[in-house]
């Protein structure tokens, strides 16, 4: 067991090296660079040379990579080309914001999707079912930026409402924070709920058709008991898988919503970094996201053995 853990942790090293190398190379490959971006129309060879020297971009590529990764290992992601600010503390700040948004959106999506999905399954092929399925289809097919933009326009024109400007942290001012976060969370949640609703419906219908449900009914269990205890429990498995996947993608994928609502999350940071060709910022934040994923996976794999006794890891083959 211990050997397994050590082996898994050791695999972290090549994985992270691979990720860091790809990020670094991709940033080199995309057209445009920070120097052109900063100088814009003013660029001339002398200015370019001065700025490259100042930013350390005049060194050979492998040297740039090694010095970056050498510090990154120690949690020093360097400083932003643009603002000269330390990157790592900023990443942590931003990640908290994105994480809060993700969790709020996920909870909202469950509140919408699971009850509606159940109703839809129970009232299969009725008008109620048709309406719910239509809404779900909207959720799946409307892109979240369109939904976000439309709701902003609608709320501001009809109800004269727009969330307060200027993000504040959850602990600094909870009321203002929630006022700012709730609208984007509802929008993300509503979009997410489309697929969860569909999954709930189909999964529940499938379970309801299975033999063990018949058996339970034959034993005289009430319809409520059949539905909420036996059927739903079994139907939840694929739903939870889906929810997990959605949360995973949201952690790195609330970029558009963050931008529309001016929420300074990790997505916004990556985007601003890309737009400004601020390589250290982009490299640092993507490496961080990747690191979180990989580490979570390893921890889960290790914990798995404790939860499910049927799984054991043997050293060697």
């Amino acid at each position: 067991m211990r050997a397994y853990i050590i082996r898994r942790v050791l695999t972290l090293i090549p994985i992270l090296i691979g990720i860091s190398l790809s990020i670094f190379l991709i940033m080199q490959l995309i057209p445009g660079d920070v120097v052109s971006g900063m100088l814009g129309i003013e660029a001339n060879p002398e200015l370019r040379a001065n700025l490259e020297k100042k930013l350390g971009l005049d060194r050979p590529l492998h040297e740039q990579y090694l010095s970056w990764i050498g510090k990154a290992i120690k949690g020093d992601f360097g400083k932003s080309f643009r603002t000269d600010k330390e990157i790592f503390p900023e990443i942590l700040n931003r990640f908290k914001i994105t994480f809060q948004l993700t969790i709020m959106a996920a909870v909202i999506s469950w509140l919408i999707a699971i009850p509606l999905g159940i109703i839809s399954a129970l009232k299969r092929n009725t008008i109620v079912d048709a309406i719910v399925r239509f809404i779900a289809l909207l959720g799946v097919s409307v892109p979240n930026f369109a939904f976000a933009t439309l709701s902003i326009l609608f709320l501001s024109k009809v109800f004269k409402y727009y969330p307060p400007v200027g993000y504040v942290g959850l602990f600094a001012d909870p009321a203002k924070n929630l006022k700012i976060m709730i609208l984007p969370a509802i929008i993300l949640g509503a979009i997410m709920s489309g697929s969860i609703m569909r999954m709930t419906r189909s999964s529940l219908l499938e379970v309801m058709r299975q033999d063990f449900i018949k058996t339970i009914r034959a034993k005289g269990a009430s319809e409520k008991l059949v539905l909420f205890v036996h059927a739903l429990k079994n139907a939840l498995i694929p739903i939870i898988t889906l929810v997990g996947m959605q949360i995973g993608s949201l952690l790195g994928g609330t970029v558009v919503t963050e931008q529309i609502f001016s929420i300074p999350g990790l997505g916004q940071m990556v985007l601003t970094g890309i737009n400004q060709r601020d390589f250290p910022v982009v490299q640092g934040s993507i490496l961080f996201i990747a690191f979180v994923y990989v580490v979570i996976n390893i921890i889960v794999d290790i914990l798995y053995t404790y939860i499910d006794p049927r799984i054991t890891f043997k050293t060697g083959r």
Binding site: I30, P31, G32, D33, G37, M38, L39, G40, I41, E42, N44, E46, L47, N50, L51, K54, R82, T83, D84, K85, P89, L92, N93, K96, F99, I103, T149, I152, L153, L155, S156, K157, K160, Y162, P163, V165, G166, Y167, G169, F171, A172, L236, I237, I240, T241, G244, I247, L251, Q259, I260, F261, S262, P264, T272, N275, I296, I299, V300, L303, Y304
Partner: protein, 526 residues
Amino acid sequence: MKKRMILVLSVVLALSIFLSACGDSKQPQDEVSQPAGSEQDVSQEADKPQVAQVLKYGTDAEPGGLDPHTISAAASIRIFKQIYNTLIDVDDDMNYIPELAKSWEQPDDTTYIFYLREGVKFHNGREMVADDVKYSFERVLDPDTAAIGKSYYDKIETMEVLDDYTIKFVLKEPFAPFMGNLTSLYGAIVPKEFIEEHENLMVEACGTGPFKLEEWIPDNRVVLVRNENYFEEGQPKLDSIEYYVMTDESARLAALRTGNVHLIKLPAASLPLVEGNPDINVLPFQTNDYSYLGFNMTLDKFKDVRVRQAMSYALDRQEIIDTVYDGEASISGFVTPAMGRWAIDYAGKDLYKQNIEKAKQLLADAGYPNGFETSIAVGLFDDIRNIGEVIQKQLEAIGVKAEIQNLETGQYIDAWSNKGHEMMVGRNGAGTDPNRSVAFFFSTTGSANVWGYSNSKVDELCELGMVTVDEKERESVYKEAQELVLEDSPNLFMASHMDYFFARKEMKNFTPSTFNSEDFSRVIIE
């Protein structure tokens, strides 16, 4: 699988709790909703209604650093323009006006003496003196600073501090654009000890301007507060300006409609959206920009002047203005109408009159009787893209089939600087001196001449314009140069557009103009 997901969730949760715990110390002192100046409110309460004198401005982009010497991004300039001053400024008639210098004289062609205002304080409380002026230009000229405006001032040979309030510049040779260049923030006056303490001016700021930097929270807001010691008596009126980054246009408009912000900037296309809204004033002002179609003149087909002229005859510039700018723009050359006396009359030129027959004839003469296929690179600005599309349509009439290439900003700049395009639509600022408008873009060695254009006569005139100090003479030199460039058509010039501020009616005394579009020194909130 279910257990696995629950595990993932709990690990994520645990991690986040850990992160919030360890990140909390970093949490900036958010939301002290009345930053500074609140004592001021108390004293003014007697004669003023109790409205917080805070201007909330919804901006379109995050600033990329605040060092006036090394940053040229509009999102940054907007902010540090409130913080720093230059020696002199320029008014809308292109006359030089005092700023930190109260007067100046020019004993000969290469010597300039500036007499500084006395008693001007930096935001750190120290008085600004001639040594600071000297230091500021030394910093700009030091290659290690990588200052953007180095070439603006590198004709300076010596700077001599005559006394605390007098400084003498001696240039290596006569350099007529010198005064114009001094109006640029690339020559902002900064305090030495502040830079030494903070290493640079990227996130900290200390100038002499009407507002001081209070805080900058990335991708969120920048807060400036009133400089109590500002040298213009009784200015500014506002206690603070809060800039909120709102990249999305509809979000900016919504925030304005609901009164969450007082001021935003939007393109002409948004005008109908606020028509008839009694809460919102639209404040238009003429920009100093012009849009252009540039040719990559290293390609054979664009080497031939007849091809470029044919394209000029194929265009209907008024249609471009009507379609793209809703009619709210002026036909322009590369010296814009806003530059007044320096500009020739472009709209009246033959090359600006659509003439399809002549265009076809020219193309045929050049060996392309059936036109050719090419492409137009456009960047992310809506107006630039739309101009590209209108041009694409108009060129079809003479058989030129152009494909539109939508480029992301980085790619666009890359294409621009490395000739990675056939044709390209863009927008340039004409500057405050014709040397900028002409030599910078169209002399053979001009660093923004990315087209491969070269005309020795134009080069000669640019040289002459640099050393001709007599204004009248200088004017005719640049006018002649404009005629030559127009005839050669290395770029085709389209229009100089209007920009629009959308302001809440509560915001008073704000009059944007071409060379001073964001002067908030008299603004009040009612």
